[in-house]
């Protein structure tokens, strides 16, 4: 060992030769060490690959452990009475492992000849085949009938690599009747794959695409499980799983929606294009949500053909379009009660205030523009607020809106939820437009003109609302209480996290709404909307309610024909929304093309004194609200009060009937209006 006592001082005496020799010696030592370690690696490889070759070869060939993901069961969806709206059904699918097939084309031809698959199946299969590993099972045909499964079994031995798989598939028993409320699931696509936690979807083929199914995807899907199995060289499973982690099924949802009412609403709307939304005004629950035309979601689950899909997307009637939450309609005269209330609140009108209606209205001192009444003969010389609502007098509201000004008008209508989302738990909702000066400046880059306020007064112009918004505004007006964020899901099944499917199924969902003995359901929270109207003056509210009641009762009430003989007291307001302005000419429904005809609108609630349901109906190109939409409202309310409520009475023994309470002043009112 070379001693060095002098430290830095020796720097100038650096012996280059000695240093070089020192390092070279060390490199030689390192080389020897490296060589020995290489020998060590080779020895290990020799041990593994030569000495224990047979052992590992056997393990490689016969005993392979593979991890098989198990898809969780998707949560079910029930209506408020426990009737299944979305379930999982067992279906058989035909799958192919390309690696195990000797001649793929020959196999496909064979299946084609046997009528087990069709040409379009093979095309879709070839598409799926691309970029897939050859030992992975690939879908050939999604749904096999019992008969096809049996016929396949006969030829199974001739078809190595082709197998039948049993899968759970989403099924919607009510199909298109409820599709716009539920949405649907479909095959996971590339874009969705990037958005989701892929490890949790390894075994899952379907994902919520639209509506509730999409909105509640996180709850409905559940958590994936695994089993570790031994497989032979072909990948066949040997024996029972070595280790198993059961999947956690998705949460079940219970909707506030009543399928009986939904079907009644759907039937009422019939073949017409449009939408019906029925709410419980006391808590924001959606009882029915219809948008017509619709489509069968079950086609999307199994994979709709591109031809059928193109038919749906290219149809002028837009069946895929959810009119209830995305259809933007002028509310028309249906918002006259809201405006009358605003006028009363702001003391712009009182019960004695009248105008003279010659069948048109002009802005004071401005003769240039004439605003027409729908009735060219007018509604008389002394039209008060009540008559204006009952007969839907336009000039009264032209005058009111003009004096109110757009600032007050839109800020009050904003309190009724116009121009905002209703918070409905299905996503994709449009918030409509409640125009004001700011909106006009930003969107149209122009100032607000007084004439625009005038037509806003009869729910036309820039003002557009969705049917669900309209229903919610009426619900709020009906109760004179809070407006709530709307929701379809009233209960979510309680946390069974970590418990197996078996344990969960012990706690069966109760079949009726009233009993929840096992604590199966956890209610969702009722949320008040952010912006609320101030209903502290009950007199004003009552005056509007009375007028809305008379719409359905008074001889000249626009919804009288539909409601006169109803067994319950309901209030409402019709609307007939002009889509097409004819200059000078009389509007003639018969001569106007169907798609340019007026939209019929109706809003209403019942019973009058303690509202249980509120609804909005928009029927596209149907004509008058009173003659077209109001009878639909009647049918729905009849269903609710005469059938659904009776059914509940039968199941609930103790019912105190409060509904018979006298609306004492109604007769007097009729007299007064008649003066």
């Amino acid at each position: 060992m070379i001693k060095n006592k002098s430290g830095y001082a020796t720097r100038s005496f650096k012996d280059h030769y000695l240093e070089r020799k020192l390092i070279t010696d060390r490199v030689i030592v390192a080389t020897v060490l490296v060589f020995l370690m290489f020998i060590l690696l080779l020895a290990r490889l020799w041990y593994l690959q030569v000495v224990r070759f047979e052992d590992f070869k056997t393990r490689s060939n016969n005993n392979r452990i593979s991890v098989i993901p198990i898809a969780p069961k998707r949560g079910l969806i029930y209506d408020r009475n426990g009737i299944l709206l979305a379930e999982n059904r067992s279906v058989y699918s035909l799958e192919v492992i390309p690696e195990q097939v000797e001649d793929l084309q020959q196999t496909l031809d064979f299946l084609l000849n046997k009528n087990l698959i069709e040409e379009k199946d093979t095309e879709a299969f070839q598409e799926r085949l691309k970029g897939q590993r050859r030992f992975k099972s690939i879908l050939l045909k999604a749904q096999m009938s019992e008969d096809e499964v049996a016929r396949f079994a006969v030829d199974r031995h001739r078809l190595p690599g082709v197998k039948i798989e049993a899968n759970l598939i989403r099924y919607y028993p009510y199909g298109e009747e409820i599709v716009h409320a539920l949405g649907y699931v479909g095959r996971i696509n590339e874009r969705e794959l990037n958005r989701i936690d892929q490890s949790n979807y390894k075994a899952t083929r379907y994902i919520g695409k639209v509506g509730l199914e999409k909105f509640y995807e996180g709850l409905l899907h559940g958590k994936i499980g695994f089993k570790q199995v031994e497989t032979d060289v072909q990948g066949r499973i040997i024996g029972s799983p070595l280790r198993e982690q059961l999947p956690v099924p998705g949460k079940d949802l219970k909707l506030s929606l009543d399928i009986q009412l939904q079907l009644a609403a759907s039937k009422a709307l019939g073949a017409e294009k449009g939408s019906i939304v029925v709410l419980n005004p006391n808590n924001g629950e959606v009882l029915a949500l219809v948008s017509n035309p619709a489509y069968d979601p079950n086609h999307f689950v199994t994979g709709i053909s591109s031809k059928d899909y193109n038919l749906l997307t290219s149809s002028d009637d837009q069946p895929l379009f959810n009119r209830a939450i995305r259809g933007l309609y002028s509310p028309g005269s249906t918002i006259k009660p809201h405006l009358a209330w605003t006028g009363l609140e702001n003391k712009l009108i009182d019960k004695n205030y009248t105008i003279s209606d010659p069948g048109y209205w002009i802005i004071p001192n401005e003769e240039a523009r004439v605003y027409r009444d729908w009735n060219k003969f007018g509604h008389g010389t002394q039209v008060n607020y009540r008559q204006a609502i009952i007969e839907s007098c336009d000039p009264f509201f032209y005058d009111l809106a003009f004096r109110m000004g757009i600032d007050i008008l839109s800020s009050y209508m904003f309190q009724f939820g116009f121009g905002q989302s209703t918070g409905i738990d299905m996503g994709e909702e449009l918030s409509g437009i409640m125009p004001d000066r700011k909106w006009k400046r930003e969107k149209r880059n122009s100032r607000w003109f007084p004439g625009e306020t005038v037509i806003t007064g009869i729910g036309q112009g820039y003002w557009v609302a969705t049917p669900i918004q309209l229903a919610n505004s009426v619900a709020q007006l009906a109760t004179g209480d809070k407006r709530y964020d709307l929701r379809l899901v009233s209960h979510i099944s309680s946390d069974f996290n970590g418990k197996s499917d078996n344990e969960k199924s012990k706690a069966q969902p109760p079949q009726t709404q009233s009993t929840d003995v096992l604590g199966y359901w956890t209610p969702t929270s009722v949320k008040e909307a952010k912006v609320q109207a101030d209903f502290s003056n009950k007199t004003n509210l009552k005056m509007v309610h009375e007028a809305m009641y008379l719409v359905t009762q008074f001889p000249r009430g626009t919804a009288k024909n539909a409601f006169l003989d109803a067994a319950y007291r309901s209030a409402g307001k019709t609307g007939t929304v002009q889509l097409f302005t004819q200059s000078g000419e009389e509007y003639d429904a018969e001569k106007t093309a169907k798609h340019l005809r007026d939209n019929a609108v109706y809003v209403g609630y019942a019973p009058l004194d303690k509202p249980e349901i509120a609804l909005a109906i928009v029927v596209e190109n149907a004509g008058h609200g009173g003659s077209e939409a109001a009878p639909m409202a009647r049918a729905i309310m009849d269903e609710y009060f005469l059938k659904i409520k009776n059914r509940k009475k039968q199941t609930q023994t103790a019912v105190s009937d409060k509904s018979v309470s006298d609306f004492s002043r109604s007769d007097q009112m009729v007299d007064k209006v008649g003066e």
Binding site: R26, A30, L48, V50, R52, S60, N61, I65
Partner: protein, 372 residues
Amino acid sequence: MSMIDLENNRREISIAQYLHIDLPLLTGILSLIGFGLFVLYSATGESQDDLNRQIIRLVIAFGFMFIFAWIPPRVYQQWTPYLYILGIILLLAVLLFGDKGKGAQRWLNIGFRFQPSELMKLAVPMMLAWYFHERKLPPTYKELFFAGVMIAVPTLLIMVQPDLGTSLLIACSGIFVVFLAGIPWRLIVSLTLIGSVYAPVHWFYVMADYQKQRVLTFLNPEQDPLGSGYHIIQSEIAIGSGGLKGKGWLQGTQSQLEFLPERNTDFIFSVLGEEFGFYGAILLLVMYAWIIGRGFYITVNAQETYTRLLAGAITLTFFVYIFVNIGMVTGLLPVVGLPLPLVSYGGTSMVTLMIAFGILMGIQTHKKLLAR
């Protein structure tokens, strides 16, 4: 310096000399990469896309290699201390502002994501080589103490990120310089003894649970065959079932049926072992041995202490990569997340590695003829 070359040597110079490329080293690297791409293609499940991405990465890494081969070693010798200090600052910055990736703080976002520990892989051996170059060899105990501090600071900074694998490799690269610089054998022996006494203390008071688990699994993989021992067992089955000649390219069932974990990165040697067998493994080791042998040749023939120490440390570190990775997949060493150099898919470390080869070439090709 090339000016001097030209003046003293009127012979026509080859392209390799002009580019300062060391042909034997380049040959070794290219054949290794060629073989590696074949294995990778199989390991990625015959993915043309993955192969293309790897080739693009290799081309970029080669670009860096050429640049660094062209720079005379004297240049970065002058810059060494600044580079080292910059590296330490960046490591501190990572701890303070770094991005978290996979639970560890390793990245610094400076327009692009940058891993300062990669810089340190080169800066640490450079710094120590620079330090000993300035002093008489063999080093005194005082000098050895300072050298130890120079190694310990970056090692600890990376260890707390936490990135145990990289920190140990960086410690190794520094220790190799100290070893080559002539640390007394007596000291080596006593340090080894102290280390073996300290090991149990480290186990009980320092190591994180996941690190302990790795060691336990390594000691007895069969104890938990479906848990963390799974990787090692599957890897051994893959390699062992390859036998002498292997199952053939693209024919490895263990690899192709996805029994092997991370088979295109850390466990790519298992794919090679399964499909090309013992002979294939020997071929790979011979290629590595060729590169290491050339590295030692360059070390011994370098002209200055700085270049000698640096070349030796680079070569030995390269070997450690190989030994740790192959040792891991064959069950000789615990599972440490280290790629197989020049063969594994991706990895930011590829550029660093090729820069190191560039430096090695530069050391060989920028020699002053005067010094002979």
